[in-house]
Structures are given as structure tokens and as C-alpha cells.
């Protein structure tokens, strides 16, 4: 069952076609990577999927709703209710502690609930760092806070923009472990990246070039990888 479907989507800036008649579909629970060099239309696609921009032409069906036709106010509502965002730059509010940063997301969604926010931090292994300010956290820790923030409202879709772009390998693995865990729980993941290793972690990779889908690659080893990851993850979780 498809969660997201882009039908003949184009985004045109003057003479430039950032996206040119793109067709993409993502099923519920799928883990998809989007790759491509700069200028290939990754960001534009990300903005459109993240309900922060609208296509010039075409339909974007998210959970059956054509977001291309909605007002920006409605788009804000959809984004808040259905999408969890993870950014390359983390984007934490620097005067709020880790748990408060998670609660900001709750605040705009429904009601801040510190207990729930602490639990979400527990899931990313940062329970004991909950009351630290971003400046007291490492990059990897900040990104894990952002993962916790993205999943706190139980979104249908987690949209990650270069989530490991600013992380070292160890932290990259931690984040990918978290993604594997989320995938195992049935969360739909779309990860925009230019890192082949990150893309390889996904079930399927969509490669964009010059605003078009150049090719799609299915990860045939995904199930084995997933098994390995989960095996690695379990003792860590119990720790």
C-alpha cells in the first residue's frame, strides 16, 4: 500500500527544471534512499515531500491527499501530523535542553509531555543526557536527539536530509541502527543522502540526475542486513 506517490511532478524555476516529470512511489513501511549529485533535484524533491514547497505540475499524494493542491496553512498541519524531519545540521534550539527540544515538537503537535519525551530520548540511548544543552552534546548525540524529536509524534513518514552528513563513522552507525530499529517497527523512512553506505542501508535507492529519476536500485541483501543490525541492537538496548 503506497504512502507517498509522486505523479508526473515537475518543479520549474524560470528556465530551470529542478524536477522534470518525476514519478516515484513509496509504500508504507518502506525504507527508501534518494541519491544524486548536487543540482540533481534532491533538495527540491525533499521540500515537496516535506510539505514545504509545492510542485509546479503534477500530483503528490501523501496518504491519499494531494498535497500539491493544499494551502500552505494546511501543509503545515500535514507536516506536523504526518512527517518527522531529521536534518544534516541537527537544528536544535540552542537555549533548550535535549528533552525540551523534543518537547518543542510535542508542543506544536499536541501537548508537551516530559515523560514521553524522556522515553523517546531513552529509545535513542540519551536518557541520562536529557537535561544537557546542545552545546554540551556531541554531534552524534545531537542527531540522536533530533531522531527522538522526529519520532515523538509517531509520524507516518520520517524524512531525513543527509542525517549522517556531519557525523563520524561511529555515530553514523548509531543513527543507521536507529533507522533499522524504526524500520523494524514499521515506520516509513525516506533518507536523502549522497553517501553510498547510507544508501546501501535502505531497501531501495532512487537515483536522481538532472531532475529526473535516473534509476532505482533494490537492495537484495536488505533482509540479512536487517537481521544483523537487529541482532547487534538488542544487547545494546538491554544495556
Amino acid at each position: 500500500m503506497s504512502l507517498l506517490e509522486l505523479k508526473n511532478v515537475s518543479k520549474i524555476y524560470g528556465d530551470l527544471k529542478a524536477l522534470d516529470n518525476v514519478n516515484v512511489h513509496v509504500d508504507k513501511g518502506e525504507w527508501v534512499a534518494i541519491m544524486g549529485p548536487s543540482g540533481s533535484g534532491k533538495s527540491t524533491m525533499m521540500n515537496i515531500i516535506g510539505c514545504m514547497d509545492k510542485p509546479t505540475l503534477g500530483e503528490v499524494l501523501l496518504d491519499g491527499v494531494d498535497i500539491a493542491k493544499e494551502s500552505s496553512k494546511k501543509l503545515t498541519d500535514i507536516r506536523r501530523d504526518k512527517i518527522g524531519l531529521i536534518f544534516q545540521q541537527f537544528h536544535m534550539v540552542n537555549y533548550l535542553t535535549a528533552v525540551e527540544n523534543v518537547m518543542v515538537s510535542q508542543y506544536y503537535h499536541s501537548m508537551p509531555d516530559e515523560q514521553e519525551a524522556l522515553e523517546a530520548l531513552g529509545r535513542v540511548g540519551l536518557r541520562e543526557r536529557a537535561h544537557h544543552l546542545p552545546s554540551q552534546l556531541s554531534g552524534g548525540e545531537q542527531q540522536r536527539v533530533c531522531v527522538a524529536r522526529a519520532l515523538i509524534n509517531h509520524p507516518e513518514l520520517i524524512l531525513a536530509d543527509e542525517p549522517t552528513g556531519n557525523l563520524d563513522e561511529a555515530n553514523e552507525n548509531i543513527v543507521l541502527d536507529l533507522f533499522a530499529q524504526l524500520h523494524a517497527e514499521g515506520t516509513t523512512l525516506i533518507v536523502v543522502t549522497h553517501d553510498p553506505e547510507v544508501a546501501d542501508a535502505a531497501q531501495r535507492t532512487i537515483v536522481l540526475e538532472h531532475g529526473k529519476v535516473a534509476r532505482e536500485v533494490i537492495n537484495e541483501h536488505f533482509d540479512e542486513q536487517q537481521k544483523d543490525w537487529l541482532a547487534r541492537l538488542k544487547p545494546e538496548n538491554k544495556r
Partner: protein, 463 residues
């Protein structure tokens, strides 16, 4: 943020300070103006008794009445110097309040039989503080007060008139000695034929025969007629008898006073002798007052109302304003208040610009955070509410801060400029807070517009 708070705080400080001064200025300046003298007069046509005066004063709130100085004016003679002055009976305690510009060399009289002498008189007759002077009150024309039963008192001066030759009037003034006999006599026969009846005025033999006689007199029995002027002589005797019978004369009185001080005012008061009302009553046997000078610390409209009330309520007296004083007061106050108002408006605008600029800087500084909040699902409305809330909170803090500092500021200004402290206006705190919050909210409008316009997609782009 701190800068915005500071600017609101300072804005509110100046605002609160100026408003305090604005509110307090009429009182302050009013008090200053009160040093220029009385601004209201209570008058009476035929003398005002003490209770009439007290009743009139009831119309003015006690806290606004700076002073009320009663005055009564009479003519007195200083026989030893053949000088005659205006004597003013008054209340020296009140004079210091209504006429603080009076400058006394020496001191104000404190006890009875002490007088204050105007500089002009002092120079004319050459007396100083500490000298003494004898003043005589003559119950002559104009000094009509007095009790007829005091007639024929020792030392009384009587006047009378009668019709003489061909309708001309003959006047006499007679002074009685201690045993009520005629001590001296002045005859005014200017209307009579000069070389016949007119001689009554100058013929010593004629006038001398009256001295030592008791009134009333009979012509030919007690005194002889002036030869050839029977009509005029009859008129003189008649005039004397009229004086004796009908003149409600009071004995002339002479009292010795000690001069306690010399008064300099730069005005006509320098030619007056001032004494206590009680002393004047002792001299003239009458304690009525001609006029009360009031110094009232009130606006022109209030003064007008009080004046009307006094004129309506108290019978026999009427109040009027010293327009010269009240008008200039109103004019100066109006100018001062509009100046303060103008400065306040300018300060408010400056505060607004400053806060707006700061908030603008805050918004661009927090662009990413705002973008993030929007990406996380913050609606335009919640962004607006947050910033407005922040602005209002700044306004609240600044307002409270400003109200307190403003009072201090106003106090300092007041002490330095007006030389008096001001009363704290409790209403000022809510007023300053509300105005500050309003200014803060207005200043936030443009920054909020900009915050709302931030594209959440900025969080996805690389730096």
C-alpha cells in the same frame, strides 16, 4: 533581547517620569506661583465680620488653601510728626503665606502693640526696627464706625455743620478735653461773606470764648455773637450742638506701638503701617475686615468655581479672582504641559523604533530556529503569538521597571528643578505597564511579519 528590554525600560522610565511630572507640575508650579501672591479676593461693601469670612472660606478645600490674609485699612495720624498714613490691620501668620515675597528687615510683629512699617514711611519719618511710634485714630469722615454711647468721651473729636448766611454751610470740628469740655475748635466758614461771617474762622476772640465750655451752648448766654454776623454765629453754635447731639463720634485714640520691622515689597505696601487686627480693633473699637486676600493652589476653573460658591453662599461678601495672576498661571502651565506631552510622544516613538529594530535583529538572529519551529509544525499563528507574547512580556518587565525608575527620575527632577518632592502615583504602575506593553506590541508588528514570512525549508539547506 536585553537591549529591547533596556530600551523599553528606559522608554517607560522617561515616560513614567514625565507623566508623573506632567501630573504633578500643576501642583508643583501651583506652589511656585503661590509665591507670587494672592490669586483670589473676598470683598465686602460694608465690612466683613470674622464669621462671615470663615463661612466664605468653607467653600475652599483646606488642602488647597495656602493662606487667607484679612485686611482692614484705616487712616491714622502720627501727631508728633504731623503725618498721616494708611494703617492695615491683618494677620501676620497668613501674610507670610499669601505674600511670601514680603521682605522684612527685623521681624514680623508677634505681640500686641507691635507694628510693621513700610519702607517708604520708615524713610520719611526716619524710624528703624526697635523704635516706637504713637498713632492716633481720628473718627473723622469716613471713619464712621463706632458706638454713639461713647459720645462725649474724654478726648473725643466731634464734627458738625449748620446752614449759615444765604444758604452756605458752616462746619465745625471740636475736640473735647478729659472732662468733656471744649479743648479746641476749628471753624470752616469759607462759604460766608469773607469780611463779615467769614471772620468766624479767623477771629481768635470769637473762638477763644468757646474753650472750656460744656456743650450744648446757647448764643448770647454762653457765648457772644461775632459782631455783625449773627447768622453765621448762630450757625456755628448750631453746628456745635448738632455735633454734640447727633454725631456718632468715637473718641480719638492714641496708642504707642513698637516697630518690629521695616517692610520692603516693591509695591504700595511700603507706604502702609501694618498691625494686628486685634490692635486695630483696640484702636477703632471695630474688628470688621475690608478684604481677604486668598492664595489658593488650584486651577483657574477650580478657582472660578470656588469664587462663585463663595459669592452665592456667603451673604454680603463676594469673591473675585486676581486675573493677572490666574491667567499667567494657566498660560504657563498649559505651555509646560504641552512641552512634556511633546517630549513624551517623541520618547514613545523613539522607544518604538528602538524596540522594533531590536526585535527585527532578534528575528533575523533566530531565523533558523523560527524555520525549525515552522518545520516542526508551528503555525503562523503560534509564531505570531510567541513573538507577541515575548514582546508583551518585555513590555511588562520594562513597564514595571520604568514605573519604578520613572518615579525616581521624576523625584530627582522635581527635587532639582522645583525643590520639592513629589507624591507617588499608584495608578502610574498599571498605566506605565499598559503603555509599555502597547508600545512593545506595536513595535513587534513588523518583526512578527518578517518572522512569519520565514520559509521553513531553510532548515533543509546547507549553510
Amino acid at each position: 533581547m536585553l537591549i529591547a528590554l533596556l530600551s523599553i525600560g528606559i522608554g517607560a522610565t522617561i515616560l513614567a517620569g514625565l507623566v508623573t511630572i506632567y501630573v504633578d507640575v500643576p501642583r508643583q508650579m501651583g506652589a511656585q506661583f503661590r509665591s507670587f501672591g494672592a490669586n483670589m479676593l473676598i470683598l465686602s461693601d460694608d465690612g466683613m465680620a470674622k464669621d462671615q469670612m470663615d463661612k466664605a472660606l468653607e467653600s475652599i478645600p483646606a488642602d488647597q488653601l495656602v493662606g487667607a490674609a484679612p485686611y482692614r485699612y484705616i487712616r491714622v495720624d502720627m501727631t508728633t510728626r504731623q503725618q498721616s498714613f494708611t494703617a492695615a490691620g491683618t494677620d501676620f501668620d497668613q501674610i507670610t503665606k499669601t505674600s511670601p515675597y514680603f521682605s522684612v528687615e527685623g521681624r514680623y510683629p508677634e505681640k500686641s502693640r507691635e507694628v510693621l512699617v513700610g519702607k517708604e514711611i520708615a524713610e520719611t519719618i526716619g524710624i528703624r526696627a526697635g523704635s516706637s511710634m504713637e498713632l492716633t485714630w481720628q473718627p473723622t469722615a469716613g471713619n464712621t464706625e463706632g458706638d454713639p454711647s461713647e459720645d462725649r468721651q474724654p478726648g473725643a473729636v466731634l464734627t458738625g455743620s449748620a446752614e449759615g448766611w444765604s444758604g452756605g454751610t458752616v462746619y465745625v470740628t471740636v475736640k473735647l478735653d478729659d472732662s468733656a469740655k471744649i479743648a479746641s475748635l476749628t471753624i470752616d466758614a469759607g462759604t460766608q461773606t469773607p469780611e463779615i461771617g467769614g471772620l468766624a474762622q479767623t477771629d481768635e476772640a470769637f473762638t477763644r470764648q468757646f474753650i472750656g465750655k460744656d456743650l450744648p451752648l446757647k448764643l448770647e448766654e454762653d457765648v457772644d455773637a461775632l459782631s455783625g454776623a449773627t447768622v453765621t454765629s448762630t450757625a456755628v453754635v448750631e453746628a456745635l450742638n448738632t455735633a454734640h447731639n447727633t454725631q456718632s463720634a468715637v473718641a480719638a485714640k492714641t496708642i504707642k506701638y513698637t516697630v518690629t520691622g521695616i517692610l520692603t515689597t516693591g509695591g504700595e505696601e511700603e507706604s502702609y503701617v501694618f498691625m494686628n487686627l486685634e490692635d486695630m480693633a483696640a484702636l477703632t473699637g471695630n474688628d470688621a475686615v475690608d478684604v481677604v486676600e486668598l492664595s489658593v493652589s488650584a486651577s483657574a476653573e477650580e478657582l472660578e468655581t470656588y469664587a462663585e460658591q463663595i459669592t452665592e453662599n456667603a451673604d454680603g461678601v463676594r469673591a473675585r479672582l486676581v486675573k493677572r495672576v490666574t491667567r499667567s498661571e494657566t498660560a504657563v502651565l498649559g505651555k509646560l504641559q504641552s512641552l512634556v506631552f511633546l517630549v513624551t510622544a517623541v520618547v514613545l516613538i523613539l522607544t518604538m523604533i528602538c524596540v522594533s529594530t531590536t526585535m527585527m535583529a532578534v528575528v533575523s538572529e533566530r531565523r533558523r530556529e523560527i524555520g525549525l519551529r515552522k518545520a516542526l509544525g508551528a503555525s503562523d499563528r503560534s509564531i505570531r503569538t510567541e513573538f507577541l507574547g515575548e514582546g508583551m512580556f518585555l513590555g511588562l518587565l520594562g513597564g514595571v521597571l520604568g514605573a519604578i525608575l520613572g518615579f525616581v527620575f521624576a523625584q530627582v527632577v522635581s527635587v532639582n528643578v522645583f525643590g520639592s518632592s513629589i507624591t507617588f502615583q499608584p495608578l502610574l504602575i498599571p498605566a506605565a505597564v499598559i503603555v509599555s506593553m502597547g508600545v512593545a506590541a506595536l513595535s513587534c508588528l513588523q518583526p512578527i511579519k518578517r518572522a512569519v514570512a520565514i520559509d521553513p525549508a531553510i532548515v533543509l539547506k546547507d549553510e
